[in-house]
Every structure is written in C-alpha cells, then in structure tokens.
Symmetry: C2
Subunit: 699 residues, 2 copies
C-alpha cells in the first residue's frame, strides 16, 4: 500500500470545498418517493409498440438501392480487402505466409484425412477448396481453415455410426490402396466418401441457417472454460485413435456406449503384446521424438533463425525416402499407398442417410464454429480488427457447403496452423489464396511421390500437434485457483468427453454452463454492514471489523438478485441473521427443564436491507419481502429498504408494494435509512438504560 | 408524494450535526487499496479444510445417544403432535374437519380412480392408506393427500404406454363390471392394477431417495410460474379425458405423438355427432351446472351458512338414487358398476415393466412432490408454522411406497380438498386419521350402494373441480403485466404441456427456467450516470435528467454481473457509450468523399465504471476489463473502477489485475473516482478554452 503522492495533499483544500457543497440531501429527499419526485424526470418508458416503430423506421431509411448494394457487398469481404490492398506493404508477407501454411497443410491434410478413415488425398482437398472460399467470405486474416483433428475424429465417428459394418476390423496393416483394389472395399470407400460429403453439406447448411437467422450470438454460450475442457478431452480421443498406427495394430471395432475410451484402452493393451510391429513402433516413436525436438528447438531459437522450419514436411520427406529405399512395406509396415492425382470435378453429394446424419451434423457444426470463432476473436482482440460472428458463420457455412461438391469433409480452423499463419508475417486473407496455389500444384502433380510414406509418420505428426491441446490442462489449474465455478465447467466437460463421447460431452458442457449460471446465484453472501468511521459508507463487518453497528439497528445486504431460486435461502438466512430462530424442543428431554428461549423483546427494532445488489427481482422476491415485512411488524420490528435501483422500484410499484406495506420504508441510501431509523428510535418512548449511539463492532 | 411530517422538520438540526461528522473520507483513503489498508481487517478466509473440520466437529458434538434418538423421533412428527396435543382445543375441530374431508374423498376418489382407468374402488384406497401414512410422517396439517386429477392422468398415461394394446377402444358404454366379467378383460384389469402399484412403489422410492440425499432443495427450481402453467395445461388434458364420459362416447385410442390434444379433439368431434348418448349428455351437463351453482352459492353465503356443504356427495347420492329407480343403465348410460367391498390385504407389487416405468415414475414423483410441497409452503406461510422439504419428501415417499402394497396408485395433495380441510377448523394432522376412519367404514360397508351411479356424474365432479386450475390463466395476465420473463416461463410450460404431453411439458418448463435465468443477464441496462445536484449520489441520467455530467468524464454502470455470457454485449455497448465507433466506409461510395470520421481527441479523458452491480465477475470479465483498459490507454483515456465489492476485489487480486493495469485506478466510491478524475484533469496541462466544472445534462 504505497503512500499518496504529494500533489494529492495539495488537493485537500479543493476537496473540502467540493464536499461541503455536496452535502447529503435534506430530510425531505431522504425518502425515495420524495427524492424521485424532486430530482426524477418522466420515465422514458417507450411502449414496446413505440420501440418497434422506431426500429422499423430506422431500418427503412437504409433501404435505398445503394445501401442495399453496399450491404450485399459487405457480405463478400474480399472485395473490401482488394479495394484497400496495398501491394507493396502486404504482398510479400502474404506470399511467404501462404507458402509456409501450405507446407503445413500437406502432411497434416494427409494425416487428418486418414484420421477421418478416408483416403488421405481428401485431407488435401479439404486444405484446398475451403481455404479459397474462406478467403472470399471470411474476415480473419490469421485464421487457417482446413483439416482439424477433433473435427476429423467426429466425422470418422459419424461415418462409423452410419456405414454398414461389413468388416469388423480395419486391417491397418494393409495399405489403403490394397483395400481399395477389391471391389467390395472400393464400394465401402465410396460409401464413406459419400457419407462424408453429405455430412459436410449438412454441416455447412446448419451454419448458414444460423448465419441467416443472425444467431451468431449463440456462440457466447460456448465459453472459454467449455472450449478448453472440450478440446482437451477430444485431443485424448484423437491420441487414442493414433495408437494403433504407431504400434502397427488393427484398430479395435465394436467398442461403443459409455466408458468407450477406457474399454478401448483395455482392448488395445490386450492386443498390443500379441500383434505389435516393432519396426512400425520404432518409426513412430522416433518420428514423435524427432518432431517434438525439432519444433521445440525451432520455438526456442525463433529469434535467431527468423523463419519457421517446416518440420512436418521434412519428416514426411525423410520418411518417404527411407521407406522407399528400405522397402518398409515388405516388412509389414503400413504405408499411405496410391494417392489420386488431380483436383476432382464437382459432383453432387448423394444425400443418403440424411436422417441419421442430421444429429452429428449439428454437433460438428457447433464444435467447428465454436473453435473457429473463438480463435478468430482471439486474433481480433490481439491485432485490433473486428470480426462479425454472423459473417464468419456465413463464411464457414459456404466453406463447408461448396467443397462438399468436391469430395471434401467438414473443416474448421486449426490453432497450430493459425499461430504459424499469424507468425509468418501475413496480413490479409489473401494468404489463403497463395496457400491454395501451392497446394493445388501439389495435388495436381506431386501426390504419387508420397506413396511409400509410413502411416506411423503421419500418426506422429498428429500426436505431436496435439501438444497445444494437451497443455490446456494448465487451464484447469488456473481456473481451480481463481474461479471454482469455471473450473467445474471445465472439469464436467472434460470428464464427460472422456468417459462418454465427444458429442455427449458437448451437450453436457452446454447444459452445465446454464445450470452453473443458476446455481451460483442460489447461496450468495448475506452480510451484515457496519458504518466505516468518519464516512457515510457501510461495509461488510467481516472485512472491516472496525465498522460500527448501531444497537437495535441491523443493516443487511444480500449479494445477489432476489428471485425464485434463492428466495428460500434468503428467508432462512435473514431470520438467522436477525436472531429470530424457531424454538426447538426435543421430543425426549434430558431431564432438566429447558428455559423458555423466546425473549419478549426482539434484539433489533429496525432492519435495513441494502438492495444495491438487486439487479433483478421477480414476483416471488417481492412477495417474500412483503411477507417478511408483515412478519417483522408483528414482532415489533420495522423493515427498511435502501439503494433500490430502477429494476426494483418499478416492480415494487407494479405489485403495489406500498399498499401492502408502507410508503415511507424505502430510502435512497443506506445512510439515509440509518438516520431515519435513529430519528424514529429517538422519538419513540425511551428506555433510559439504553443508548442509541454507535458502538464498536465486537468481533 | 405526501409531505414530510412535522417532526422530521425538527430533526433537521440533528441530521446536520450527524452529517458534518460523517464527512467523506480523506484523499488518503479514496483509493481502494489505502481504504482497505486503513479500515479493513484480516480476511476471514478459512481454507476449505478448516471449514470442513469445523463442520465435522459440530456434527460430532451432536452424536450423543439422546441427540440421535431425538433426531430419529423428529422424523415421526406425529409423536411431537401427540405430545403437544390439547384435547379440548383441537379434538372437536379435527373430527369435524376429518368428516368433511372424507365426504369429499368419497366421490372424488371414485372419479379419479376411473380417470386412472382402474376400478373406482382403487381411488377410495388411495384416499385411505396414504392419508394414514401422511398423518404419521407429514408436517402440514392443512394438506390433504390422496387422489389428484393430474397425477391420475399421468398414471393412466403410464399404464397405457406399457400395457399390451389388446383392445383398440375401451367401450365406455359398458360398465367396468361387465368388462371385468370376461376372462381376458379381468386379466387386463389385473395387469393395470399391477402396473399402477409398481408405479406407486417406484414413485415413492424416488421421493425417498431424494429425501435421504437431502435433495429437497431441488424443489426451488419448480417455481410458481412453472407450476401454475404446468397444472393449467394438465387441467386441460384432464378435462379432455372426461368429455367422452359426459357425452357417452368411446374414448378414442391410438392418438400419440406431438399435438396429441388437437388430434384428440378432431377425433372426438368426428365421433360426437355419430355416437352421442343424449341421456348421458343431459345427466352430465345438468350435473356440471348443478354442482357449479351449488359450490358457487356455498362460497357466496359462506359466512351465513357456517358449514361447507358436501355438494359432491349430495350429487352422488342423487345420481345414484335417480339411476337406480329409472334403471338408467338399460338406456345405454354407463354406470360405475360393482365395487369391491372391504379393505385389501397387503400384496407385493409385481414389478413387471420396471424399466419402462422408471421414466414415468420420475416425472410423476417430480410433479406430485412439487404440487404437494408448494401447497404445504403456502399454508405454512399463511399460518406461520414450518414445513421441512426433506421431511415432507420422506412423508410423500412412504405414503406412496407402503400403500403400493395395498393396491394404491400414486397420490398427491389436492388444492380443493386442502382448502376445505383448512377452512373446516381442523388444527393438526390428526384430521387425516379421522378422515380415514370414515372412509374405512365406507369401503368396508357402503360401496355396493354406489353401483348404479352414472359415470357422467363422476365426470361432472372432476370437471367442476378443475375450475381452480383453469382460473390460473389469470396468473398469465398477472405475469404479463408485471414480469415478462416469468410470463415466458408460464407460457412455454403451458404450451408445451398442451401441444406435446404432460411429461414433456415438465422437462421443457424446467429447462426454460434455467435458460431464462441466463438469458436475462445477457443484455442488461448499461447506463450513464450523472451527479444529482447537492448530493454525492450518481443516478441514471435517463431517469434523473437534471443530474450533471462533467465534461470529459463519463460515468457508466453495467446493471448486471459481468461474465462470459454478457461480456461481448458489454464491450460493444461500452464503446458505443463513450463514442468510439469503428469507422464504416461503404465499399461503393455515393459520389461525395466522406469526411474522415476519426477525431484526433477522444470526447472523454476519464471513464469511470461503477461496479456496484457486479455480484460476480469471472475470468472472462476480468480479461475484458484489462483489455478495455489497455485499449483506452492507447487512445489517451483512463479507465477507473469504483464501488467494487469483495467478489470483484478478490478476483482482481487473484488475476493480478493491478500488475497488468495500474494500482490506483480503483476507487472506493464513484464520487471518490470523480474527484480523483477532476484533480487529474486540473493538474494536467490545461486547454484554456475548456472548463472542467459540471454542466447540466442536456437531454
């Protein structure tokens, strides 16, 4: 607690002068009614019809042709970007960033394509088409749309739940190309692709509907603790899905229902010892360690090596070369296999299984938009530009719908790529365009080169990229120390994602959010106030033990809005605090007669309730106050209210509170109420042995 | 606005004296840190371990044998009642009340028994056994447990959903006795009874579990608007179920799914014109009118005719006598038929279909306990005794479990009977005992007398008794005028009960409750404050137009706790209020060049945020404040906070707010902050053409 500075000492005179002119209001205006009558104005209570008319009038003024045109063009942000583009300032940075991000897209696209249980080239498509669309309609230059682990996982689960389980086990020892060579397996691959594209279309449609209905505000319910807990739990699911690829095992099938993850681990441990492929394991573990070290060193010495090393691409190249020359596939190591060359032509999604896909589509839409929007908002806060939730939803929607015609599955923003995109010096959304140029070239020409790449390398890329999500566990520690309620939300979401599944975790998390918002209002602090010496301030006597309390006057403050869900608690605690407890006589007495506990006189004559925390009070709250007032009156105690804001005043008026109680029990400030109570005590017949002056609070 | 009384003029001197000694705190203590340092005490921050230890220690002191015994005996409230019973004072009133209520039970029991699609005698059992149990374990003397329309309806629906649909239509033209004479129909009746008793057992079990886990507090979520809307909607379902009996139609079957009620009405109107039985209709309509008139007149002249006329019993007697002598059953009018005589012996419920019955059991348990407890609380408020939610739950639970061994279905408190019970002069729970004596005699001896009673009479009794529930529609008007949020809750519950079903309505209502609690915090008022002349008070300039604002100082107040769900709204409105809007340039200009909107100097130099409404602030809120502070600092504006309570102070400390902003921007009161801002403005280099004194607010 540092000393005040010297110039403030000099202000002492000025302040005294101001204070003496700012005297407390005269007794006439102590009572709320008089105060409002003296100083208040007409309540600007526009009827709802008036408000609606004003709003419509305002909308109509903007219905000129030019305004409509501008409004339409605003939905295509790239036009504004091109209009304001400064070639000298932005172009080089955007090109470099585009190339850097494309280099990350290539291995990640293939890896996440496999995670989706589709041929890896589809991951490359998802890194190409949606990025172009987002460049046209999106507003966040640093957000990197494309493949994302959690969304790929959820897509895979949706496909699994729909597809005919014609094989019980995917044999991950075989290459995907050898699978596709047989007719029925080819059919199954096509079936998966068609389900995935239908899903992407539906996901985009949901997002577009939300955008058109301007429901972007719903994203506020997907709060930071929720997203953190959710993505951390989902990361563990992603990690688990890659373990078979590292160790060269078959992915166990038929594990469903609650506690899916523990059951899966039990099965994996069972088959691990039996079927482990040591070469694949060695490649996987080495890749993980090498990649992790490389990224760590790159991060550590970032300031010296100005550029971001493309560690994943280097791993992919090394892995491909080594596998090619040592012919690893002949040793039972699973490889990526044939990857189709060339960009696909537009084809209609088949829209089979739409009924079964609607529910996963809604869940995937919610998760993908919440992750993308929270990242966009984080960058907007950091760099000072504005992102509009509804425009972003439009962008995400179109970037799922249109690419679904080009064999793409659902996409979202990826944190790791976005951070790289931000750090590589790009400034505008054109980064996406340059990235797609590079990626398009790769897809057109270079994909056959990746044929011998071991799957274990791709799995290593996925696992190492989960590091950021795993580190979110420190959020749990942060919330635990700061805010137990947010910690509860994080934990409930994380645990339900872990124990049940990703979509159930989403719903549990959102419900917990709502329930917590109610629960935290149910048992607030209900404190006794005392007057801080030499001031007109009334503070909690627990934290300000030197604050005085007047005998026979109790000042209370209920630190939350009073409504149905906390009214019973209010009532119980209120009577406890003013010392009125029900007489409890046990059924079987222990021998001696209990004294009659009921005193004739209540301890307090006046109870003042400071209503400043009441941001809201409902009819149940008002009825309770009336009931308490009447009950106290019977006991010879008068209840005063103070510091009532408009929310409280207008419902007291509406419910005719004053007719049921008294007109003059509501004071403007707590101090006014105390003065009123002292005056009333002094004018009442006096008990000569009692003083009404303040006494120190005895702790 | 009445004038102040004369004695208050005389107090003027006293108040001046007090006020001059209660000067504003010195500048040293204007800043929050210094204030807390000077006046604050050690934060009584018991660690959670300490709190737990104290609690356990307190529990252990009550672990003496005598305390445990008393605690056990407290769970059998009738012991206390008998211990404190004053025969002279209570006995006569209790006997009269018991007989009065029994007289209501007889016709209602039979009617609601039929509503449950069971033989009517089971309604009489439900009016007998649970009442005895409640007498032993319940705490509310005025609550009349037994049959209740809504619960009977839900029981019937549960039975329907489980039982084999062996007949498509119940022929309500036949007597239930003629149905039971055929073998397969007898089997079906037995099947229904066994399902109903299993359901009663499960309902009681749910209530007992809630009681043992001391989850009575959960009943707070079943708020007044919810119960009102719910029971009103359910009353319409009950009314609909009785229409076939009035008109002598067959109850349509196979109507399920959403919009059940409208579909049912369509079907009924279809068969009405075809199958209507005029005699039954005449009896029904006449009974309704006669009963309604009788109750109305009885209510009107209550003060003259001291007693409550047993209108329903009189109707039953008249109906029985008329039907017997005119042999109505031969004219196609459906009658009650043979009613078993005698009280049943205990038999185990069969526990078939337990899996299917769990969900209806939970719903019925929730509805029945919420209705019963809300009535108990209403009577306890009115008469000044205490009811304990957990003890009541125990009573309801046992009064469902034990009677399930005696062929009873689930029960609840009934408002109409409870009001009568209250009004007949009874004082203790022994009313139930006397009522059961009367009822037991009827069941043992008199039931065959009711054989010719027309079903239309019972239906009339049910319909007229719904009047109270229908009148709850005026609650809608009340809430509409006073509190839109509660009105929304009422409407959502009512509409979903109507359009879908009673159990879906329950869940929708509870979810709406939670959602509304969050939604109302999302767009609170965000107001500008001004200083009320001659006072140190700062009020909303909309309601106090004469309040002064200082140039270059903006005082704002956000009227709700700041957390994740309203942080985006806060941010948007904040910048709007201080006049910092993003520069919008349309893509296509309309010809003239728009002026550069950005002024060099911001309008305000100091923005003071009054944090008195912040009952809670989470990490998202604190991060937002830090971000806003930094952003304003870049624009040359300083943000001050004032009126921060402990909830805000401790999280600002925990999140190291002061390290990220400044130590001295938090003031104790808004007035302190204004003085601080004025001082800072005065000591800054002055623009000679600006004055820093207050100016009238221009509306």
């Amino acid at each position: 607690m540092a000393d005040i500075s010297s110039d403030q000492e000099a202000d002492l005179n000025l302040e005294h002068q101001q204070l003496s002119s700012l005297e407390e209001s005269s007794p006439r205006n102590r009572r709320l009614y008089s105060f409002v009558g003296t100083y208040g104005g007409d309540t600007p209570n526009l009827s709802r019809v008036e408000c609606a008319k004003q709003y419509l009038a305002k909308q109509c003024t903007t219905l000129t042709f030019l305004c409509c045109l501008n409004s339409f063009l605003d939905k295509i942000p790239i036009l504004r970007c091109l209009k304001e583009y400064k070639i000298r300032k932005y172009l080089f940075g955007d090109i470099i960033a585009g190339i850097t991000v494309a280099i990350m897209h290539i291995p990640q696209g293939m890896a996440y394509g496999v995670l989706t249980t589709l041929p890896p080239v589809h991951g490359l498509y998802v890194s190409f088409y949606p990025v172009i669309i987002y460049m046209i309609f999106g507003t966040c230059p640093h957000l990197s749309i494309g493949t994302f682990a959690v969304i790929s996982l959820m897509t895979a689960q949706a496909i699994e739940s729909v597809i005919q389980p014609s094989m019980n086990m995917i044999d991950s020892n075989q290459t995907l190309s050898s699978i596709s060579s047989s007719g029925s397996d080819l059919l199954m691959i096509n079936e998966r692709i068609s389900i995935a594209t239908t899903l992407a279309f539906l996901v985009g449609l949901v997002q577009l509907i939300l955008s058109f209905l301007r429901l972007g505000f719903l994203t506020v319910y997907l709060t930071e603790p929720f997203i953190s807990g959710f993505t951390t739990g989902a990361a563990i699911h992603v990690f688990t899905s890659q373990i078979p690829y590292i160790f060269g095992l078959k992915t166990p099938r038929g594990v469903n229902g609650p506690f899916k993850l523990p059951k899966l681990y039990v099965k994996l441990i069972g088959i691990l010892l039996r079927d482990i492929n040591w070469i694949s394991t060695a490649i996987g573990i080495c890749s993980i360690i090498a990649l992790y070290l490389a990224k760590y060193l790159n991060e550590r010495f970032k300031s010296k090596i100005r550029i971001v090393l493309p560690c994943e691409l280097i791993l992919v190249i090394i892995g491909t070369v080594v596998s090619h020359f040592t012919k690893l596939s002949t040793h039972g190591v699973s490889i990526v296999g044939e990857i189709k060359r060339g960009l696909p032509l537009p084809t209609m999604p088949t829209f089979n299984h739409v009924n079964e896909l609607i529910s996963p589509a809604i869940t995937i839409a919610a998760v993908s938009l919440s992750i993308s929007i929270s990242m966009a908002k984080m960058f907007s806060r950091k760099h000072g530009y504005k992102v509009s939730a509804n425009q972003e939803l439009l962008a995400y929607g179109i970037s799922n719908v249109v690419p679904s015609f080009f064999q793409c599955y659902p996409n979202a923003g990826s944190l790791s790529r976005s951070v790289v995109q931000e750090g590589s010096g790009g400034k505008t959304v054109l980064i996406g365009g340059f990235s797609s140029i590079v990626l398009g070239s790769v897809i057109m020409a270079l994909t056959p080169l990746f044929r011998p790449l071991p799957m274990a390398c791709l799995a290593a890329i996925i696992i190492v990229n989960l590091k950021g999500l795993f580190f979110q566990v420190k959020d749990f520690v942060f919330y635990f120390q700061i805010s137990l309620l947010e910690c509860t939300l994080w934990t409930m979401t994380f645990v339900s994602v872990l124990l049940f599944d990703v979509d159930i975790g989403l719903y549990v998390g959102v419900c917990t959010s709502f329930i917590i918002n109610t629960i935290r209002t149910q048992k607030p602090r209900f404190v006794t106030l005392g007057q801080v010496k030499d001031t007109g301030l009334y503070k909690n006597i627990d934290y300000f033990p030197s604050a005085c309390q007047y005998p026979r006057i109790k000042i209370l403050r209920f630190d939350e809005s009073l409504y149905a869900c906390n009214a019973p608690f209010f009532k119980r605690k209120f009577y406890e605090l003013i010392g009125i407890c029900p007489v409890y006589s046990p059924i079987i007495c222990c021998g001696e007669k209990l004294e009659e506990n009921k005193s004739e006189e209540p301890i307090y004559k006046y109870v003042i309730l400071d209503c400043s925390p009441f941001n809201y009070i409902d009819t149940v709250g008002v009825k309770l106050l009336i009931q308490v007032y009447k009950d106290l009156k019977k006991r010879g105690i008068t209840l005063y209210l103070s510091e009532c804001r408009f929310e409280v005043r207008h419902i007291l008026d509406a419910m005719k509170f004053y007719e049921k109680t008294e007109l003059y029990i509501i004071y403007v400030t707590t101090h006014n109420a105390v003065v009123g109570a002292i005056n009333a005590l002094n004018s009442a017949p006096v008990n000569n042995d009692e003083s009404n002056g303040p006494t120190e609070n005895q702790v």
